[in-house]
C-alpha cells in the first residue's frame, strides 16, 4: 500500500524537477560508479559550456536526495584525497523511473517537430 503512495508522490515530484536537477540526475547515471561531486561538476560544466560552482552542484544533489531520487554512500578513504572520503551518488529505482518519464515526455513533446525548423539565421 505504501509503495503505491510513494509512486504517486514521486510522479508529482518529477513534475517539479528543475532543469539543473534533471541534468545532474542524468549526469549521475552517466558517470555510474564514479559519480561524486567533482566529476559531476566537470561533466555538467563541459556539456553545458558554463562554469558550475560547487554550491550549484551540492544544492540539487541535496534536493534530489530529499526527493529520494538518488542515494549516496561514503567511499573508502583514498590517499589521493589526503585520506578523505568521497560521497558517491547513485540512482534509486524512483530516480531511474523519473529519468525514463522525463525522456518519454521529452520525446513525445518533440515528436513530429523537425529540428531544422527552429534554426534561426
Amino acid at each position: 500500500m505504501f509503495q503505491n503512495v510513494r509512486i504517486e508522490r514521486i510522479g508529482e515530484a518529477m513534475k517539479l524537477l528543475s532543469r539543473p536537477e534533471e541534468l545532474i540526475l542524468l549526469s549521475i547515471w552517466r558517470l555510474q560508479d564514479d559519480a561524486y561531486c567533482i566529476p559531476i561538476r566537470s561533466q555538467v560544466s563541459e556539456i553545458t559550456g558554463e562554469d558550475w560552482s560547487l554550491g550549484s552542484v551540492y544544492m540539487p544533489l541535496e534536493r534530489l536526495t530529499k526527493k529520494r531520487l538518488i542515494g549516496s554512500f561514503l567511499s573508502d578513504k583514498t590517499p589521493e584525497r589526503g585520506g578523505r572520503h568521497k560521497r558517491i551518488y547513485f540512482l534509486t529505482d524512483d530516480g531511474k523511473k523519473a529519468l525514463v518519464r522525463i525522456r518519454e515526455v521529452e520525446s513525445k513533446m518533440w515528436d513530429g517537430i523537425p529540428v531544422h525548423t527552429l534554426e534561426t539565421k
Binding site: 561524486y36 561531486c37 567533482i38 561538476r41 566537470s42 560547487l54 551540492y58 561514503l74 590517499p79 589521493e80 584525497r81 589526503g82 578523505r84 572520503h85 568521497k86 560521497r87
Partner: protein, 857 residues
C-alpha cells in the same frame, strides 16, 4: 593526477569544517581540495587560491546570516513581544513585578542580616585557636551554663596546661563616668582586661607609648572616637583620665573596633584597676566575675584539652558541681551560652532564613499563576509561531526568557526598595547597614542566584504547558480545555495562604506572649520606679540623699539594693538550714537590700515582718525568703527558724510572696534577701505616678546639690524589665513586618487571579444577568471558590502553626495559652483581607452592564 596532499590552507580548512553543518564534512572538504588541486593545474596557483578564499568567504557569510542574523532577529522579536505584553497588561505586570520585587527586597535584607550574623569574630588572626571557657553549673533543681568564671582560673590554666599558650580575662564593666578637665560623660562598653588581651585578639593599636600599654598599672587604652571626644586634636597619650573618680593614664589608642564582635569595647582598663575594690579577691575561686579566654597551641587537640580542664573548678571549690568546656570564639555570637548574652542566636538565623525562603516562594507562586493565566490569552501567538516553524524548544526558551526578564526587572526594583527601607530595617535589627553593604559581592551573588531561580521557577510551568499545545487545536479555538481543571493553580493558592496563615499565627503568638510577659502581675509594681547606679563615692552620700528626698511628697519611697529589681543576676548555692539535705545543691537567687526595699517595690509580706531600720541587728543576720524557698524548707512556719547564707548565720524574719525577679523563661526560683548596706549598687526611688516630671526634677536638683561631681544617670525600672524580653520584642516586630509583606504579596496574587477570572467569565456573568441572575448570586459565583480555598488552606496549615507555636512557647515557664482563638482569628483575618482584595474586582464585574460584554460578538 599528481600525488596531492596539497592542502590549500589549514585555517581555511578549519573554517570550512566548522561552517559545513553536515555530518560528512570531510567528504565536502575532500571535494574542495580536489577541485583546488585541479584548478592549480588548469588556471594556476594564484587563481586557485583566489577561488578557494572566495569560497570560504561566501560560505562564512551565509553561515553568519543563517546562524546569527536570524537568531538575533528572533530574539529581538521575542523582546519586542515581551515588552508589548508587559505594557498591554499593565495591572498584571505591576502586580507581578511588585510581588517579586518585594519578595526579593525581603531576601536582600534577610541575606544581609544573616551574613552579618555569621561574620561575628571571624577576623581574629588566631580565631580557630581562641576559646572562651564556659562553666556548666549543675544544681540539684536546675542547671546553668555561664561564661563567667573565677578570677584565678586564667593563671591556673596557663601554668598547669602546656597546651594553653595564652589566657586573657575580660571583665565587662558597662558604663563608667569619664572625666577630663571640664568634660564629663558616662561612657558605655568599658572593659577590664589582662595585658595579654591584644596578643590574643586581633584588635589594632593606632598609637601606643610602650610595647604593651596594658602592663603598667592604672593605664587605659581608649578607642579613636573617645580620644577625639576628650582630647580633640591634642595627643591623648600620657594624659590623665578620671574614670569613676580614679585617675588613669592613657597609654594606647586603638582603632574603633568593628561592630561584628562579641567583645565590644570603647576603652580597656588594665586589670590592676580591680585592686581598689575590697570585694575583689584575685585568689577567690568561689565567686565569678570575668570571662576567661584561652589560646591553644597550634597542634593541640581541643577535645583532649577540654577533657583535662573539665574538673578544675570542682577541684578548687568544695562541694561545687560544675564542668568547664571550651567554646570557639566564632560560636559565641551564634550559639551564645546564656540566654541573656545576645540577640542573634542561630535560632533566629534559621527562622529568618526560612521566612525569607517562604516569602520568596509566595512571590514565585504569584508569578507562576499570573504568567500562566496571562499566557492563556497568548495561545494564538504560540499557534502562529508553531505553524511558521518554531520548535518546542524555542517556545520554551521564549517564555523562560520572558520570565527571566521580568525577574531581573524585579531585581532592580528590589535593590531600590531595599535601599529605601534600610533605615527602618536598621532600627528594628539594631544594626548599622548602609546602602554600600548591598553591593557586597556575597549579597549580590545570592541575589543573582535568587533572581535566576525565581525566573526559571516562575517561567517553568507556563512554558512547559504552553509549548505542549497543539497548533491546530489552538488555531481552531479549542484552547480552553487546558485550564478547565486548574488543580495546580488551586494547590498553589492553598499553599500561599497556608504560609500566610502560619506566619499570622506565629506573629500573634509571639505578640501575645510578649504582651503577656510585659503585663503579667509580677508580684511587685515596676512602674514609676527610678533606678540610679551607685558609683565611686556616691555610696557615702546615700543616707543623706535618702533623707533629703523623702522630705518631698512626690517621692514615695527611697531604697537601694545590689541588683536592679527587674533582674537579680546573682545565684548562689551557699545556703543552709536545719534539716537541709547536705547532698542537695540548690541554687537560689539573692539580693542585698536596704531596709525599705520590699515596701518600695510594693511586694507583699505574707508572714513575719519586713526589714526595718528600727532593728539595729537586722543587718546580716536576718533573712527574708520567698514562698518558693519556704516550700523547700518545708516547715509550716519558717519564720524564726535558723538559716545560713555564706558565713552569715541568722534567722528568717519573714516570707515574701513569690515575685518575678528573673526572666519568665524559667519558674520563679527560691530567693533570699539580706539587709546589707555596704554592697549596694542601685538607688531605687518610687515617684509620684501622676507627676513623674516634677518628681524627676526634684531628684535632679537634690542630686546635683549633694553630688555635684556626678551627673545624674538614671533609668526607669520598667525599661530594664522590658530589656529582658528585648529578643522577643524585636522578633515580634520583625515577624509583624514580614507577615504583612507575605499577606500583601499573597493578596496581590489573589487580586490578579480574580481579575482574570472576572475577565474570562464576563460573558457568563452577562448571560446570567440577562436571564435574571442577581448581583449577589454572581458575587457568590466568583468568590465562592476563593472562600473555599482559604478555608482549606487554614485547615491544612493550622496544625503546622500550632506545633510551631507550641515549640516556641516551650521555652517559657510562664506563657499564654495558644488556644483556638488564634486560629479563628488568623483565618478570619485572612478571609477579611482576601475578601476586601477581591471585592473590588468582583463587584465591578457583577455590576457591569451585560450589553457591554455580549454585544461585542
Amino acid at each position: 593526477m599528481k600525488k596531492c596532499c596539497n592542502s590549500p590552507s589549514r585555517s581555511g580548512n578549519f573554517i570550512l569544517k566548522y561552517l559545513a553543518g553536515r555530518n560528512d564534512r570531510n567528504a565536502v572538504i575532500g571535494d574542495i581540495e580536489e577541485e583546488y588541486n585541479a584548478k592549480i593545474l588548469s588556471v594556476g596557483l594564484l587563481k586557485a587560491k583566489i577561488w578557494y578564499w572566495h569560497l570560504v568567504t561566501i560560505s562564512a557569510f551565509s553561515f553568519i546570516i543563517e546562524r546569527f542574523y536570524w537568531r538575533f532577529m528572533m530574539s529581538g522579536n521575542y523582546l519586542k513581544v515581551a515588552f508589548r505584553n508587559l505594557f498591554k497588561y499593565k495591572v498584571f505586570s505591576i502586580i507581578n513585578i511588585a510581588g517579586l520585587a518585594s519578595g526579593m527586597a525581603c531576601c536582600i535584607l534577610i541575606g544581609l542580616w544573616i551574613l552579618d550574623e555569621m561574620s561575628y569574630d571571624n577576623f581574629h588572626e588566631n580565631g580557630d585557636r581562641i576559646f572562651r571557657i564556659s562553666e556548666h553549673h549543675l544544681y540539684s533543681d536546675s542547671d546553668l551554663i555561664s561564661p563567667i568564671t573565677p578570677a584565678p582560673l586564667a593563671s591556673y590554666l596557663s601554668e598547669n596546661f602546656p597546651d594553653i599558650v595564652e589566657t586573657a580575662r575580660v571583665f565587662k564593666l558597662g558604663s563608667m563616668l569619664f572625666n577630663y578637665e571640664n568634660k564629663r560623660f558616662y561612657e558605655n562598653s568599658i572593659i577590664l582586661a589582662d595585658k595579654s588581651f591584644f596578643q590574643v585578639f586581633s584588635y589594632k593599636y593606632l598609637r601606643k607609648d610602650s610595647e604593651n600599654p596594658l602592663s603598667s598599672p592604672n593605664s587605659i587604652v581608649i578607642n579613636n572616637s573617645l580620644a577625639e571626644k576628650y582630647f580633640g586634636d591634642n595627643e591623648a597619650l600620657g594624659e590623665i583620665l578620671k574614670v569613676d573618680g580614679i585617675e588613669l593614664t592613657v597609654t594606647g589608642i586603638t582603632e574603633d573596633i568593628p561592630l561584628n564582635t562579641e567583645i565590644q569595647f570603647r576603652a580597656v582598663i588594665s586589670w590592676s584597676y580591680l585592686d581598689k575594690f575590697s570585694w575583689y579577691d584575685s585568689t577567690e575561686w568561689g565567686s565569678s566575675n570575668n570571662e576567661t579566654y584561652v589560646m591553644l597551641d597550634k597542634n593541640s587537640d581541643i577535645f583532649k584539652v577540654e577533657n583535662s580542664i573539665r574538673g578544675v573548678i570542682e577541684d578548687h571549690v568544695q562541694g561545687s558541681k560544675s564542668e568547664l568546656s571550651l567554646q570557639p570564639i566564632k560560636d559565641i555570637h551564634l550559639y551564645s551560652l546564656t540566654r541573656a548574652d545576645t540577640w542573634g542566636a542561630i535560632l533566629y538565623v534559621y527562622i529568618f532564613a526560612i521566612i525569607g525562603i517562604l516569602i520568596m516562594l509566595i512571590a514565585c507562586i504569584n508569578s507562576i499563576n499570573l504568567t500562566t493565566i496571562r499566557a492563556i490569552s497568548r495561545t494564538r501567538e504560540i499557534g502562529i509561531r508553531k505553524v511558521t516553524g518554531a520548535y518546542r524548544k524555542q517556545i520554551v526558551s521564549q517564555f523562560l526568557g520572558e520570565s527571566l526578564l521580568l525577574s531581573f526587572l524585579s531585581m532592580i526594583l528590589a535593590i531600590i526598595i531595599s535601599i529605601a527601607v534600610l533605615p527602618v530595617f536598621n532600627e528594628i535589627t539594631h544594626k548599622n547597614y548602609y546602602p554600600g553593604n548591598i553591593g557586597n559581592a556575597k549579597v549580590l551573588t545570592i541575589l543573582f542566584l535568587v533572581t535566576l531561580c525565581t525566573g526559571l521557577l516562575s517561567g517553568s510551568y507556563p512554558s512547559a504547558y504552553l509549548s505542549a499545545l497543539k497548533p491546530d487545536k489552538i488555531l481552531r479555538g479549542v484552547t480552553s480545555t487546558g485550564m478547565k481543571k486548574p488543580y495546580l493553580k488551586r494547590v498553589l493558592v492553598i499553599f500561599q495562604f497556608g504560609i500566610s496563615i502560619v506566619l499570622i499565627i506565629s506573629t500573634l503568638t509571639v505578640y501575645n506572649q510578649v504582651k503577656f510577659m510585659l503585663n503579667k502581675d509580677i508580684g511587685w509594681d515596676k512602674e514609676n520606679l527610678v533606678c540610679i547606679r551607685i558609683r565611686g563615692d556616691v555610696r557615702d552620700s546615700y543616707e543623706i540623699l535618702k533623707e533629703e528626698l523623702l522630705k518631698f511628697k512626690k517621692i514615695k519611697g527611697v531604697t537601694a539594693s545590689l541588683y536592679d529589681p527587674a533582674v537579680f543576676i546573682g545565684n548562689t548555692t551557699g545556703i543552709y538550714w536545719d534539716g537541709k539535705n547536705t547532698n542537695e545543691n540548690l541554687s537560689v537567687g539573692f539580693n542585698l537590700v536596704d531596709s525599705d526595699f520590699l515596701k518600695t517595690i510594693n511586694s507583699d509580706i505574707i508572714s513575719g515582718r519586713s526589714f526595718s531600720s528600727d532593728f539595729a541587728s537586722d543587718s546580716t543576720n536576718y533573712f527574708i525568703i520567698n514562698e518558693s524557698l519556704a516550700g523547700y524548707i518545708g516547715k509550716n512556719d519558717v519564720v524564726g527558724s535558723k538559716f545560713t547564707l555564706w558565713q552569715n548565720k541568722g534567722i528568717i524574719i519573714g516570707v515574701v510572696k513569690d515575685f518575678h525577679f528573673q526572666s519568665m523563661r524559667s519558674e520563679i526560683k527560691p530567693c533570699v534577701l539580706l539587709k546589707n548596706i555596704d554592697f549596694l549598687e542601685y538607688i531605687i526611688i518610687r515617684i509620684d505616678p501622676y507627676d513623674n516630671e516634677s518628681a524627676l526634677k526634684l531628684i535632679r536638683n537634690k542630686w546635683s546639690e549633694i553630688l555635684p561631681d556626678y551627673p545624674l544617670d538614671f533609668h526607669f525600672v520598667n525599661e530594664s524589665f522590658k530589656s529582658i524580653y528585648q529578643n522577643e520584642v524585636d522578633m515580634s516586630k520583625i515577624l509583624r513586618y514580614f507577615t504583612i509583606l507575605a499577606v500583601f504579596i499573597a493578596c496581590l496574587g489573589l487580586f490578579g487571579l480574580v481579575s482574570f477570572i472576572g475577565e474570562r467569565k464576563k460573558k457568563e456573568i452577562a448571560i446570567r444577568k440577562v436571564f435574571g441572575g442577581s448581583v449577589s448570586s454572581i458575587i457568590r459565583l466568583i468568590s465562592g471558590e476563593f472562600i473555599f480555598l482559604i478555608v482549606i488552606s487554614s485547615l491544612i496549615s493550622s496544625p503546622v502553626a500550632y506545633i510551631l507555636a507550641a515549640k516556641w512557647l516551650e521555652d517559657f515557664a510562664y506563657k499564654v495559652e495558644s488556644g483556638l482563638t488564634f486560629f479563628y482569628l488568623a483565618g478570619l483575618f485572612l478571609l477579611l483581607i482576601a475578601g476586601f482584595t477581591v471585592s473590588f474586582q468582583i463587584v465591578k464585574s457583577a455590576n457591569s452592564n451585560p450589553i457591554d460584554s455580549i454585544s461585542r460578538e
